[in-house]
Symmetry: D2
Subunit: 224 residues, 4 copies
């Protein structure tokens, strides 16, 4: 796997990160990663996935996987398609794309078999603790009420991060922990790492920034 | 728009049409189209969309659009992303990805505004007639019980095609009609055109063929 | 069927219309109906359906039907269960419970076979026109942006009602038309009937009223 | 809560257990419970819930809860509606009605606050272990491939039950364990209890029995 800590940039369905602009943002992420030596990964829009993989060398994630089955599933995104597109793994169960508990288990089991990296998003302490037992590569704890907001989870709810880190360490020590929601600055990144996280997951902070390169440089500088 | 009639090949989530094999199938479709002079379009797997658009010049369709809204929609495929990926349009409401009636209206309205080509799949006469009033570019009538089977809809249920063609002609004459389900040979294509269709929509007949090029050449020869 | 015009009261999932309070509201609706001679129907909360049917003689509707299939479908509401519970029919495709176009067709076809009354909710002119071809008993046109609001659709958008009434009269004359959204007073009911509707569909105007009986009496007085 | 062990009969959407026949089956369950002294609970069809609660004194469960929110949710079943209908609790996440992990957490949290009994269905060892941390009243482990079949889970996969019982005892000792899938006879019940379960969850074994009373009597005799 890629070296930790990691900064994962989720492009969501933002207009600012689709098509050519999405490609450009992925290239900027790569440049900042190379210059700073900090791992930066991107999760581009679903239809751009295979193209972005071809254009950059940093780790590329899908934003979601619909099913592990291949075949007559028009309009679905399969684990196989994500893998063949060259993605290193996928976000799963994002606040904007929650999936069923039994599907999370099925997809993670298959991703682990395929040695793919799963970033399983969770909304609170209880769910993080429970789902860590399903053996994702990472739990990404993101309190939904802070997503897209101006205050970082690391400032607003540091205790939830601490509790998740401790609980995962105890119950599922092989699982990493990321955090997100409101993350925007080097200070937020530094604080997340101090609290025991392996990295951050963010979106609007970079995608909607007036100067994504500068924002990424600042974020990367939060890693010593 | 592209010249009619059209042969649309849906890659679904078939393993045989993902990643490199999907790209290769798109290239074969382009070659057969150039040699035969018949329009052949492809609907590759969602994560391959932008890449396939870059690699071929034939019309490329998305298999599905989730929403017309851009923004905080992780894991969704927006109309904007499909358009910026360079697709000419999208399949909608496929038997394996049915959508809500009000969403069909919303997506088609926006696709028409963006001059994108919509292929709206339907399952029977009543639904085809009703949804033709929502002004898609094409209605693609596919009786679900024949999809993926060995008997072509043109042989098993020619009367449903005739009824849809007549009804659309009367109620929404600007809407084209495609048909699919069990379509595999030049004879099926010829029959579809004789029944008044503007083309065919098929998947397994090509994707799971031992020799997709030969199958596509045969299908194209059904157009005089 | 019941005499027209009809006032249909949707209890939604309002706390004010669940359990004992739901039963009481159904009884009030019955009393006002008997006193005024105007048909008033109720759509109680799903889990109260069979009980409400036993307690009142006015027409009782389900709020939704999941599927026409019976069998191994834990947690689903089948058409058969709704019928055996004694409901006269069901709302379908409400703005808060949109369903797929092909399911609308399947459920209405079966409801017509079973002589059940279907009230098919729609959001705009194009969808109303299209779905009227699927032969529901009623189209209930409700612009979503006015639902639950203070201005009646009959005041804010009378032209949409007129267009739907005319279009349904022409394309599917056996289909009735209801309207709703913001309907609260006798004036709104009178205006709906003047515009050619067969009745109104409303929820908060009655359920959240300080005095549901008085509100229902006022609404009923809008029918001459 | 009711005395353990418990036999829970899920009526699903079976035609044999809807309307009058559903009521009759609930009454039979009550009679067998009274005669045998064994707790028997029923989960009738959703639209019959409030009526069945009025007609019998045994514990009655909903088959599913859509949301904990009340208000403008036409066609949804709220926790509040289930509670006001008089149900003792609800099945959750049945194989035929899986729900999202974050919703499971939200609904169970609210059910615990309301002192309602939650029976959380799970499909395998890993999911049972993980979701037991969300503090349902019971985990009901049901391997999906055995549901509705002829071989009881207690015979086909006793080891999965043992593993779940042990794991829950260790991680969440306040959570009970039920099992189901293929359960039909007193022998199956006896075996489930020997393996450490607090009861069984079954459906077709009773509902589709030629003689539900006799089947229930036999099942109850499996409890010493």
């Amino acid at each position: 796997m890629f070296p930790l800590p990691v900064i994962v940039v989720n492009f969501k369905s933002y207009r600012e990160a689709s098509g050519e602009r999405g490609l450009e943002l992925a290239r900027i992420a790569q440049e900042v990663s190379e210059e700073s030596g900090v791992t930066i990964a991107v999760a581009p829009q679903m239809v751009d996935l295979a193209l972005v993989v071809r254009e950059v060398k940093i780790p590329v994630f899908a934003q979601h996987i619909d099913t592990v089955k291949t075949g007559s599933y028009t309009g679905s995104t399969t684990l196989n398609a994500v893998k063949e597109a060259g993605a290193v793994g996928s976000l799963l169960n994002h606040a904007e794309k929650r999936i069923k508990a039994s599907e999370i288990d099925e997809i993670i089991t298959e991703m682990n078999r395929e040695e793919m990296v799963s970033i399983l998003c969770t909304n609170n302490y209880a769910v993080s603790k429970a789902l860590s037992l399903l053996s994702p590569t990472f739990i990404a704890i993101e309190p939904p009420e802070l997503i897209g907001g101006d205050v970082s989870v690391t400032t607003a709810k540091p205790e939830i991060i601490t509790r998740v880190v401790k609980s995962v360490e105890k119950l599922a020590p092989e699982v990493g922990v990321l955090t997100g929601a409101g993350v925007k600055t080097s200070k937020d990144v530094r604080r997340a790492l101090e609290l025991g996280c392996d990295g951050v997951l963010l979106a609007s902070g970079v995608v909607k920034s007036d100067n994504p390169r500068k924002t990424l440089e600042d974020l990367a500088s939060g890693v010593d």
